[in-house]
């Protein structure tokens, strides 16, 4: 049987990929997708912990996360569209007018 640490390592790798995507990419849609990767990395660790603890709590939380993630994606994409209409750009650096 595959030990728990393997799942967690995969989860950590996925999470790091997502984080790197959020920081390094300059396209709002890519950033949103990176956030989804991070969320799914967390889901993976929840399910793994649940499996090894022998109950279904981890799976239940995962469903919650997926639901929230779906809602978040909807809102996030709507915001991205609104921003695009406003500035004709998807680069987050273009949206800095709230500074001093």
């Amino acid at each position: 049987m595959i030990p728990l640490s393997h799942y967690l390592i995969v989860s950590a790798v996925l999470f790091s990929i997502g984080t790197a995507g959020v920081f390094l990419r300059r396209n709002l849609i890519t950033i949103l997708l990176s956030i989804e990767i991070m969320l799914n990395a967390v889901n993976l660790s929840f399910v793994a912990f649940g499996r090894f603890a022998g109950d279904v709590d981890g799976q239940i939380i995962t469903f919650f996360v997926m639901t929230v993630a779906a809602a978040e994606a909807a809102v996030g994409l709507a915001l991205v569209i609104a921003l695009f209409r406003h500035r004709e750009s998807l680069n987050p650096d273009a949206f800095s007018s709230l500074k001093w």
Binding site: F23, D93, W100
Partner: protein, 679 residues
């Protein structure tokens, strides 16, 4: 029942203050006078009730409710009438009513709203004055004390369009603040010592103590109270406001600045007679200040040219007499003089008002003369008032002034007696100078106009007077109107009072019974404990022998003061009627002295230089330019610039770059997690 006495004038004030501008003059003036008459009626009934009680139990008290209850301090809204306040309420409501009636004619040239404003102030004043004399404890008295000060300010500045009237009002108010401050401190001292502020409780507590030797807490408290009295009753050093207060309408001068308010200080000492007689140090100060004030004001009155100012200085001088009486322990004599003075001084002021009214605002006696024929009622009443104040037998002023001088002499204050007698001479002289210059001789127009522009009467600026001037002409040849009926009524009643008011205090020496002194006696001693031994028979017999000796002395002194009065009148007649040139020569002989007196010893200038200007300078340079601008504004502006400066640094964190925010968020999370994992 007692509460009704101040309530009636207060209702009059409320009606005139709220609806006055829509009421015609007859209604507002009539209402105000009616309120006073109603109050007079209630006062009379109360005093009659009081007479029905036995002398030892003569006090009626009414507590409306507990006003202040805080720890040890328990003060009721209580009114108490005893023989002393009975005299006061009769004087206030009686003379007050007459002056209200007089005012309906005197102020008739004012427009309706001003007329109602005048009467609302006058009623409010009467109400507060009655609270002052009826209050059964210090704080309630202080309410009245401050209230009459307010009304005094309002009425002095009644013609508020005139700068001098405004200034005089402010001066009266501010000078009185100095005294009132001391009065409050005196109250605090009494509360600290006795734990109560009720007059009777304080008197009982003091009576149980021996008289103070040296300067202790009693002396301190009474001295502070006396400083309060010097403010309200215009004594050295706080008298300077009273002569300026003559800027107000003349009936106001008669009511507030002669008959009632300025006597509040005398009343206050009489009310606390037990307290003051246990502080001999203070009493000495009171007597000396009183005598000095009497003499100083008398000398100033000798050379003033404004008819009302002469009377004002005369008032200051007579108040000095009252304080002299209080100071030598002759409380009854002081109150007696207060009571007779109210009659003749009100009569004189109202007489001067009638003159001013007839001459359309002329107040300078150098422009008068020869008014005797044209204003007969005014002349005769004024003359009676002048004889009364000069102290000629058997008019009222003779008895009261004589009692004061006699008591002063008997108490062993020979020097003070001399000062008092000298002042009596001055009084007779300046009063008859006023009579002769105003009413005798020929009509004159020789006053240098420019010098006295400051004294001009507020009336003159009113349009309402112009038509009078047109229809009657304004020269010496024109016919002048004597006092109209309402004014004549007040004058005649007060003249009768000036003659007869003294008759309730005729001393034993000339066959009287001095009823007033007997009547007032219980007010000046501590409340008796029931069953206390009466005066023994032997003491009564010994007293009778001494009494005969006293009577002889009293008769002698009476002769002296009568001689003085007549001498003063004769001197005035000689100088100002027979040999007018003597007066001018005296001015020429002693120009320095004349100028000193004409300028009132330069006391106003002295106060201005030593107190007013330094305070002004300190306020401008210290409080305004330094404290307000530097410290207050500096603190406010400093707080703003600190915020501004730190914000200038901190705002650089707000770069606007979303990824920078996300990065700092990430670093923050890593740091926090790292801390928990590896600690």
């Amino acid at each position: 029942m007692l509460a009704l006495i101040p309530l009636f004038p207060f209702l009059g004030f409320v009606v005139n203050a709220t609806m006055g501008r829509r009421l015609p003059k007859g209604v507002s003036g009539g209402l105000a006078s009616l309120a006073m008459l109603a109050s007079l009626a209630v006062s009379l009934i109360t005093v009659l009730q009081l007479r029905g009680l036995s002398p030892d139990a003569r006090a009626i008290e009414q507590t409306l409710y507990t006003w202040i209850a805080s720890g040890d301090l328990n003060i009721g809204l209580s009114f108490r009438v005893d023989p002393l306040s009975a005299v006061m309420i009769l004087v206030i409501t009686g003379i007050g009513s007459l002056i209200h009636i007089y005012s309906t004619a005197y102020m008739h040239d004012e427009v309706d709203s001003e007329f109602a404003r005048y009467f609302s102030y006058l009623n409010l004043f009467a109400s507060f004055m009655l609270v002052l004399v009826l209050g059964a404890n210090f704080p309630l008295m202080f309410v009245g004390w401050e209230g009459v000060g307010l009304c005094s300010y309002l009425l002095i500045g009644f013609w508020f369009k005139k700068k001098s009237a405004n200034d005089a009002g402010k001066k009266a108010f501010i000078v009185n603040r100095v005294g009132d401050y001391a009065f409050i401190l005196g109250m605090l001292a009494i509360f600290a010592k006795f734990g109560t502020l009720d007059f009777q409780a304080v008197a009982s507590a003091v009576a149980a103590m021996p008289a103070e030797t040296g300067f202790g807490i009693l002396s301190l408290a009474t001295l502070l109270l006396f400083i309060g009295a010097t403010g309200k009753s215009a004594q050295i050093p706080l008298y300077t406001w009273l002569p300026d207060a003559m800027e107000g309408p003349t009936p106001v001068s008669a009511l507030i600045h002669a008959a009632t308010m300025v006597t509040a200080g005398v009343y206050m000492i009489g009310r606390n007679a037990v307290l003051f007689s246990h502080a001999p140090e203070t009493l000495t100060i009171v007597a000396v200040i009183g005598a000095l004030t009497a003499l100083m004001a008398g000398t100033i009155g000798l050379v003033q040219n404004d008819i009302k100012r002469v009377l004002a200085y005369s008032t200051v001088s007579q108040l000095g007499y009252m304080f002299l009486a209080m100071g030598v322990g002759a409380f009854g004599a002081g109150i007696f003089h207060l009571y007779t003075h109210a009659f003749f001084k009100a009569c004189l002021f109202l007489g001067s008002g009638a003159v001013i009214h007839a001459l359309h605002g002329e107040q300078d006696i150098r422009n008068m003369g020869g008014l005797k024929k044209e204003l007969p009622i005014t002349y005769w009443t004024f003359l009676i008032g002048a004889i009364a104040i000069a102290g000629v037998f058997p008019l009222s002023g003779f008895f009261s002034k004589d009692e004061i001088l006699f008591e002063t002499f008997v108490e062993g204050h020979k020097l003070l007696w001399t000062v008092g007698a000298l002042t009596a001479l001055l009084t007779a002289t300046y009063m008859f100078r006023l009579v002769f210059l105003t009413f005798h001789g020929e009509r004159r127009h020789d006053a240098p106009a420019a010098a006295d522009a400051h004294d001009a009467h507020g009336h003159a600026s009113d349009d309402s007077h112009r038509h009078d001037a047109v229809s009657h002409g304004h020269g010496s040849g024109s016919h002048l109107h004597d006092a109209p009926p309402a004014m004549a009524l007040a004058l005649i009643v007060l003249a009768i009072g000036s003659v007869a008011a003294g008759w309730i205090g005729i001393p034993h020496a000339i066959g009287g019974h001095n009823e007033l002194a007997t009547w007032l006696e219980p007010s000046f001693s501590a409340p008796r404990v029931a069953g206390e031994a009466a005066v023994s028979e032997a003491a009564v017999e010994a007293g009778e022998a001494a009494e005969a000796e006293r009577a002889a002395l009293e008769l002698t002194l009476m002769g002296v003061s009568l001689t003085i009065a007549v001498a003063g009148i004769a001197f005035a007649y000689f100088v100002w009627v027979k040999r007018r040139r003597i007066a001018d020569n005296m001015v020429r002989e002693f120009p320095g002295l004349h100028r000193l007196l004409l300028n009132k010893y330069y006391v106003d200038e002295l106060y201005d230089a030593t107190i007013v200007q330094p305070i002004k300078a300190a306020s401008t340079e210290g409080l305004w330019r330094w404290f307000d601008v530097r410290v207050i504004d500096g603190a406010v502006n400093g707080a703003a610039s600190i915020v501004d400066g730190s914000a200038g640094v901190l705002r650089r964190l707000q770069s606007g770059s979303v990824r920078a925010y996300a990065g700092s968020l990430f670093v923050g999370v890593v740091v926090i997690l790292g801390y928990y994992l590896w600690r």
